[in-house]
């Protein structure tokens, strides 16, 4: 039973970190209806920022979050003003392929600068420590911290979107850009802000994830796909949806490992051929496809 609780706990914690990754994507999609293939690349940039700042300044990786947030915010705004603004005028296919170009660009820039090797955080306040909270649940401290901070970041974004004038303006831009412009909302600036917030949240997620996941220039695509799945499950443009769907996806990725454990322990011979762990991400994609087809606006979607 222990292992079940452990995988549940690990799934929920990882899911919280993942939902922070998806938050940026859902904000950007919600405000301007553009699918950002480069999303995972921003995560990678956040991971490298966390890693390198920690190494250069000799501080704990968890303390580099403000740096990552600032880098992400500026990068997001720069991307919007320098590139995405022009893409928005074109048809949908040009938008998709344009952000794909951005993804290739950032990935190969990282490859050129940092090289293809995996890098990981080896020292830190929390790295390698874990808590045993009874019932056989062992929780790595890094994941717990990541989940907690992700929760905090989520709360901050939710408050910003729902309790401030800027948030109202963002929502108005999302619902009807033309109407918002007539009401005197600077929609162009709101779009740039959405990119800034979106990228900042994903780079923060990167700086959190780098504590327990090694980084290389190719890491982005996996997280882009996971983020797509989360956003589709939770509903495009829905902030609470992203949070709950993130936890669901986290559980989906952890439970196959538990299934394997069962088959090995109880010797279900018919299952031993292919370990379920190799289908870890496939179940995510299956869930994503089924939700897309059955309920395109997602579980919590408000915009369609």
């Amino acid at each position: 039973m222990d292992i079940l609780f452990s995988s549940l706990a690990a799934g929920i914690l990882f899911g919280m970190a993942l939902s922070l990754v998806a938050l940026g994507l859902t904000i950007i999609f919600g405000v301007m209806d553009i699918i950002n293939f480069a999303h995972g690349e921003f995560l990678m940039i956040g991971m490298y920022t966390g890693l390198l700042t920690a190494k250069a300044a000799g501080i704990d990786p968890l303390l580099t979050l403000p740096v990552a947030a600032a880098v992400g915010f500026l990068l997001g705004i720069a991307c919007y003003l320098g590139f995405i603004k022009f893409l928005l005028r074109g048809p949908m296919i040009a938008q998709l392929l344009g952000t794909f170009g951005l993804m290739l660009f950032l990935r190969n820039l990282a490859l050129l600068i940092f090289g293809p090797n995996d890098r990981a955080v080896h020292q830190g306040l929390l790295v390698g420590k874990s808590f045993d909270i009874g019932l056989g649940i062992i929780i790595p401290a890094t994941k717990l911290a990541a989940a907690g901070l992700a929760l905090a970041a989520f709360a901050a974004v939710w408050l910003l979107m729902n309790r401030t004038r800027t948030g109202k303006a963002l929502t108005a831009t999302a619902l009807n850009p033309q109407g918002a412009r007539y009401m005197g909302i600077p929609t162009e600036r709101m779009n740039a802000l959405a990119w800034g917030i979106g990228c900042a949240s994903v780079t923060v997620a990167g700086a959190l994830i780098v504590n327990f996941w090694s980084v290389n220039p190719y890491i982005g695509l996996l997280f882009t796909m996971l983020a797509f799945a989360i956003v589709a499950l939770g509903g495009f443009g829905s902030v609470p949806g992203a949070f709950f769907a993130g936890i669901v996806v986290g559980l989906i990725t952890e439970l196959p490992g538990f299934w394997d454990f069962m088959t090995y322990t109880f010797e279900f011979d018919w299952m031993l051929d292919v370990p379920m762990i190799s289908f870890k991400y496939m179940w995510v994609y299956v869930a994503y496809f089924v939700i897309m087809v059955v309920r395109p606006r997602g579980l919590f979607g408000w915009k369609h």
């Binding site: 999609f29 209806d33 699918i35 590139f83 022009f86 893409l87 005028r89 074109g90 048809p91 949908m92 296919i93 040009a94 938008q95 998709l96 392929l97 344009g98 794909f100 170009g101 951005l102 993804m103 290739l104 660009f105 990935r107 190969n108 820039l109 490859l111 050129l112 090289g115 293809p116 220039p217 695509l221 796909m225 797509f228 799945a229 589709a232 495009f236 292919v274 190799s278 289908f279 991400y281 496939m282 994609y285 299956v286 994503y288 496809f289 897309m292 087809v293 395109p296």
Partner: protein
């Protein structure tokens, strides 16, 4: 008979275009007779392969306006069918290729039916999901070699083997794919003037109007999706015989799907020459940048940085592609 006449009828293009097309075609025909490097002919074969992929994508994505980012799964199905049948049961290309098309088209009907209930972005990302699921399955399926992939060893056969399409020199492959390429152009020329072609353009312009005109929108999309699939699957089978070493990563990945869409978009989606122009620009660019900058200069990634920058500039500045630019100039001149 009528269909055949339509396929050979290019009279709605300006004469200058046709002269250029015939000259370029003739140049392609005699290209292998002149001295050339092995690299050049390999690039030419890649160009033909990708312009055929682009033509297939262009039916659904260009004429129909349904952005499909899952075409690579059908490349995979075609390639794997041919490779498995050749390796396990020694079935030649010309028999395994139709079987591959059959598999691909059946699969496309199965997933196309639910997929086409979606529109726009939702459709695009759902196609990515199907492609990824299939790739993950192929990566663990032992029968098709799992993640190691399959290798066709040419030693067992006596090249040139026209039945199994196993050759030692690239020239043979060049002419086989060139023949496919010409057939593809003729088919597309017929397709754009067919009933389905006109229905698709109506759907692209305004779906509800198309529906009110009595077009069965859902079924028209599914049919076109199957046509696009068949195109891609045939070329996928050829790819297996040509490359001789197939893995899930390079036959079914998302990168390939997007590259296919990119060919058509860059050249000009929804036009006959668009995918060909797109492939003619992108493929040589990609392979020569890699040759000159990537491998020899020792700078990993710089070729793809330049390539990505070009994609970004084109999609931001001229989203209708090169053919769109040509048409814009023409319209300005005729005014």
């Amino acid at each position: 008979m009528e269909a055949l006449k339509n396929a050979f009828d290019f009279s709605d293009f300006p004469r200058s275009d046709l002269i250029i097309a015939i000259l370029v075609g003739a140049a392609f025909l005699i290209f292998p007779l002149f001295p050339h490097s092995a690299f050049a002919i390999a690039t030419m074969i890649q160009f033909f392969i990708f312009s055929l992929y682009g033509m297939g994508w262009n039916t659904i994505g260009g004429y129909g306006g349904q952005v499909d980012l899952g075409k690579a799964q059908y490349v995979g199905i075609g390639a794997y069918t041919t490779a498995v049948m050749l390796i396990r049961w020694d079935i030649p290309f010309w028999f395994s290729m139709p079987v591959g098309v059959l598999f691909s088209v059946s699969w496309s009907f199965i997933i196309g039916y639910p997929l086409f209930r979606l529109k726009g972005h939702y459709f695009a990302i759902a196609t990515i999901a199907t492609s990824l699921v299939l790739k993950d399955l192929f990566e663990v399926w032992d029968f098709v070699g799992a993640a190691r992939g399959l290798e066709i060893s040419p030693i067992k056969y006596a090249p040139p083997d026209f039945l199994r399409l196993i050759f030692r020199e690239d020239v043979y492959y060049y002419y086989v794919i060139f023949a496919f390429f010409l057939l593809g152009i003729l088919y597309m020329n017929w397709f754009r003037k067919s009933r389905l072609g006109f229905q698709l353009r109506a759907i692209k312009d305004n779906e509800s109007v198309a529906q009110s005109l009595g077009i069965n929108v859902h079924w028209a999309k599914i049919k076109t999706y199957a046509i696009a699939t068949a195109f891609v699957s045939v070329v996928g089978s050829f790819h297996a015989c040509y490359i001789k070493n197939i893995e899930p990563e390079d036959t079914m990945s998302l990168n390939l799907s997007i590259l296919i869409a990119l060919m058509a978009m860059l050249g000009g989606a929804g036009s006959l020459w668009g995918p060909i122009i797109g492939a003619g620009v992108l493929i040589p660019l990609k392979s020569y940048l890699k040759e000159w900058l990537g491998a020899s200069a020792g700078l990993v990634g710089i070729d793809l940085i330049i390539y990505a920058a070009i994609i970004m500039v084109i999609s931001a500045a001229e989203p209708r592609g090169i053919w769109g630019l040509v048409e814009k100039i023409r319209r300005r001149r005729s005014r």
